[in-house]
């Protein structure tokens, strides 16, 4: 079948039709031959038998009368009767004893002939092929009866040549007819196959041209069609979808619930009446039109995205996922990273981002299999000359030039982070101011003790009293302890005021809480607010900055205090109560601050984290405390939940991922801050 598959459709049709016709012809010929020839022979035989019978009837009398001359004239008459003379070779009559009574041979009677075809007893006749001289004849023998007695036998010799001649004539005519039919079919099938295949080969040529991108190929497919794609409104207006063709568009239109714009009559899409070939041509034309339309749109879209890529305000890279090489970069990337495009292309993306980028790439490669984009906030990148700066990185997998690649969009957040840090720092300084009264009181205590101790020693000396060694040691120890106490407070303050570096450290949640309490605890108790601590032991570490967490806790405690004091105004004599709890659960570390203040009204609960929102009296708060608190907590991957019963109090619960969990999160590349060994940007 292989060679058959390779030949053209035209020839396939042609050959197939021809083969079928030939087979039918041969079958008919064979059938006809069998029917016609045997029929003809039979008929001729019957005619011979009839002649023989007629002679036997009429010649019976002559045989009995032994009037052989009459018999002879009879058989000659029968033999020469019109066209019978061509058919009958001879006639002869035998008597009962097989003696030849008369015959039509012009030559002496060939002897063996009389016994060549005997009529057996009981048979009316017998037919047998006999050779007489050069001729072959069908010898038909019929018995001649007179009453019940057989008086002789009539033999009629039918010329086989004559019969063959007739058959040959018939065969010639029949074959001629069949040949004529075949020739006609040959011609017709040739025409049909050409009719079917010629548009197909034309379509093939056209689509070859189209594949090569030659869209200006002359589409000679239909008559009377002015075929210019530029006439279509959807071609000029790329935003206008063509609903005739665009199944996808139809779907999206349905989902968007748009009715869409539909041309009342499409300029191009039409179905002419006609056979399948015409319909195929129409359909093909529509397809070509559609391809041209969408190819143009694709070009436009490509140009659009190219210009987005080029003019985007943020650097964008295309990075090969397997080799980490930069495949493309936009001008903004050159500007920010200070490499020229030539330097960027073909360079490993690692050069820009070092280890952080490697981590990112690995996890992206994992994520790519799940498909979807990954967001990396605050990643350290390097400009030319290894100058570090912070970026947010957004990576999405794509297929680029057949390779597995990703689009990396990068936002320079250095300035933002600086501003952030400044804001946090400013807020901290403000907090410090708010704390100052407490701090002064707190430092005054040890100072007072020291002062009194030294004055006491002076007093003793002035009064010339005896000072025992124990007294002095006692005093010295006491003074030393008090100095330590003051130093602790000052250290705490200094740590609090220090601008935190960008690198996060491992923090035991209890530490900042204790730190804050050492500064403000006393002040709170003076203000009739008890702070109860239920600190969990052996808490897992979290990632953050001790002093920023202190700021967070201070803010929360400060707010609790303000709330309680507000309630105290209406309920003098009440005692404030703040319960601070820390505990670990499900890979997170929690810190909750429950106060017995007035609670937070539902109406403002959603607003309290907004910047500049405050319920405090004018001048008492800027409304930045909680906003900054929230910012810090979010930075550490934490959450804040508020549970408040108006009139009963408020509970702020903070939760942070523990370090192990944090790392797990980093691995999953969901919400990450990756810093392990980076240069701290600032420390005072």
């Amino acid at each position: 079948m292989k060679p058959y598959a390779r030949i053209s459709l035209k020839n396939k049709i042609f050959i197939s039709i021809l083969a079928v016709i030939l087979m039918i012809s041969v079958t008919i010929a064979l059938l006809a031959r069998w029917i016609l020839i045997s029929g003809l022979t039979k008929e001729l035989e019957l005619r011979g038998i009839a002649v023989a019978h007629s002679i036997a009837e009429r010649g019976g009398g002559f045989v009995l009368d032994k009037n052989y001359s009459e018999l002879l004239s009879l058989i000659f008459e029968e033999a020469r009767l019109r066209e019978r003379q061509h058919m009958i070779n001879y006639i002869f009559v035998l008597d009962r004893s097989e003696k030849v009574l008369s015959h039509t041979f012009t030559v002496p009677f060939p002897g063996p002939l009389s016994t060549a075809n005997p009529v057996l007893e009981g048979n009316m006749h017998s037919v047998r092929l006999v050779a007489v001289g050069a001729q072959t004849s069908y010898d038909i023998a019929v018995s001649m009866n007179e009453g019940l007695y057989r008086i002789g036998t009539v033999h009629v010799g039918l010329s086989k040549e004559h019969i063959d001649k007739l058959v040959a004539k018939l065969r010639f005519m029949f074959l001629g007819f069949i040949s004529a039919v075949i020739i006609i079919i040959f011609y017709v099938s040739h025409r049909i196959s050409r009719y079917i295949t010629s548009p197909i080969s034309r379509l093939t040529n056209i689509s070859d041209e189209l594949s090569r991108g030659n869209f200006d190929v002359h589409l000679d497919l239909g008559e009377g069609l002015d075929w210019a794609v530029t006439n279509c409104p959807a071609y000029k207006d790329t935003n206008m979808p063509c609903w005739h063709f665009d199944e996808q568009g139809r779907k999206s239109r349905k989902s968007e619930g748009k009715t869409g714009q539909v041309c009342s009559t499409c300029l191009f899409y039409r179905k002419r009446g006609g056979d399948e070939v015409i319909q195929l041509a129409d359909s093909f034309m529509s397809m070509v039109w559609s391809i041209r339309l969408y190819r143009k749109r694709l070009q436009e879209s490509e140009m659009k995205y190219r210009s987005l890529f080029d003019s985007g305000p943020d650097p964008i890279f295309v990075v090969d996922c397997n080799t980490d090489l930069i495949l493309d970069a936009n001008p903004r990337a050159e500007e920010l990273y200070e490499y020229s495009k030539g330097e960027l292309l073909g360079v490993s993306f690692m050069v820009l981002g070092h280890d952080q980028v490697r981590e990112c790439l690995t996890s992206l490669n994992d994520a790519v299999t799940n498909s979807g984009c990954v967001y990396y906030p605050k990643v350290l990148h390097y400009k030319k000359g290894e100058r570090p700066f912070y970026v947010n990185m957004h990576a999405c997998p794509i297929s680029y030039g057949g390779t597995h690649a990703m689009i990396v969009a990068v936002t320079d957040i250095t300035e933002m982070m600086e501003k952030d840090a400044q804001l946090v720092q400013a807020a901290k300084m403000k907090t410090l101011g708010e704390m100052s009264a407490g701090i002064a009181h707190e430092i005054n205590q040890p100072l007072n003790a020291i002062k009194m101790g030294s004055e006491y020693l002076n007093l003793l000396i002035e009064q010339n009293r005896e000072v025992t060694e124990t007294q002095i040691r006692d005093m010295a120890t006491e003074i030393s302890q008090q100095v330590d106490r003051a130093t602790d407070i000052i250290n705490n303050l200094r740590a609090f005021g220090k601008k935190s570096g960008l690198v996060m450290e491992r923090v035991d949640m209890n530490e900042p809480i204790r730190g804050v309490l050492s500064i403000i605890g006393r002040q709170f108790s003076i203000q009739r607010i008890t702070i109860r601590l239920e600190l969990g032991e052996d808490l897992p570490y979290i990632k953050g900055h001790n002093n920023r967490l202190q700021q967070v806790f201070f803010n929360l405690l400060n707010n609790a205090r303000d709330a309680i004091q507000e309630k105290m105004e209406s309920e003098p004599g009440m005692w404030g109560d703040i319960l601070v709890r820390t505990y670990a659960r499900e890979g997170r570390v929690f810190a909750s601050f429950a106060d017995n203040g007035p609670g937070i009204a539902d109406s403002v609960r959603n607003k309290i984290f907004e910047p500049f929102f405050t319920t405090k009296q004018t001048g008492k708060g800027m409304g930045l405390g909680l906003a900054i608190t929230y910012g810090i907590v979010r930075d550490y991957g934490g959450t804040i939940t508020i549970d408040s019963q108006p009139g009963q109090g408020t509970t702020f619960t903070l939760s942070f991922p523990s370090v192990e969990n944090h790392q797990a999160l980093e691995h999953n590349a969901t919400r990450v801050d990756k810093k392990t060994e980076q240069p701290s940007e600032t420390s005072q």
Binding site: A440, K451, M452, G453, Y456, R465, I526, R528
Partner: protein, 237 residues
């Protein structure tokens, strides 16, 4: 001589310890309490003559302790201890009839003086001496003031003032004994007198005021209206 009972209330153990040492040297019978509540308890039990109390304390604070003590025994000398330079609280305490105030960190000198003044006042109160007397000295009329200047002192002061007016002097010297204590009401009366004297065309000057009360007078604005001299002689000159 019987030792005066003194009660010290402070939430700082270290401070209490120091007070105990100090006051022992000064020869007081010392009682201590670590909170306002405990302080009142001890006060009720022991009836001390002098109470030293910190103002800023958890729970019952010094102001409340002061009020409670003054309610139970107005004669008790209550000296409040204030945070460094916190004059607002000091004045608030004075308004509530605190006898004196001492700033933290506590200087020996101010503690000694404060205690000495308190002792003096107690003595005066016991002898029930007239707290205000008028003496003519040169061109000026000197009103000698001892003990505590409070609402009780008003009639005496008024009497002395009218005497001075009668004498027809141009300058009245308010000469405070170094142990004098002036409470809020006292300050109000003094201010009133000064304002009246301006109207009457008489100049009032002050002398002998202890350091503490100079500060207080400064804060309430009296020093802007009257001249204050260190000694009586300077004031009369």
């Amino acid at each position: 001589m019987t030792q005066e009972k003194i009660l010290v209330i402070d939430d700082e153990k270290a401070t209490l310890k120091m007070f105990r040492l100090f006051l022992d040297v000064y020869g007081f019978d010392i009682l201590t309490a670590e909170s306002g509540e405990e302080g009142l308890e001890v006060f009720d039990r022991e009836k001390p003559d002098i109470v030293l109390t910190d103002i800023k304390m958890p729970g019952m604070d010094g102001i409340e302790v002061l009020q409670q003590i003054k309610k139970r025994s107005p004669a008790t000398e209550v000296i409040v201890i204030t945070g460094h330079g916190d004059m607002d609280l000091a004045i608030q305490a004075l308004n509530l009839d605190a006898a004196d105030f001492i700033n933290k960190p506590i200087q020996r000198q101010s503690l000694e003086q404060g205690l000495a003044r308190a002792k003096e006042r107690l003595k005066l109160a016991k002898s029930r001496q007239n707290e205000v007397s008028v003496v003519r000295q040169g061109q000026a009329l000197v009103i000698e003031i001892q003990g505590s200047v409070s609402s009780h002192s008003e009639p005496y002061l008024r009497e002395a003032y009218s005497k001075a007016q009668e004498a027809g002097v141009q300058r009245i010297v308010l000469h405070f004994d170094p142990n004098t204590s002036v409470n809020g009401a006292g300050i109000a009366i003094l201010t009133q007198l000064v304002l009246e004297s301006e109207k009457d065309g008489v100049e009032i000057v002050m002398a002998g005021l202890s350091e503490n009360f100079r500060k207080v007078f400064g804060i309430v604005g009296l020093t802007r209206m009257v001249q204050i001299f260190d000694s009586l002689d300077e004031a009369c000159a």
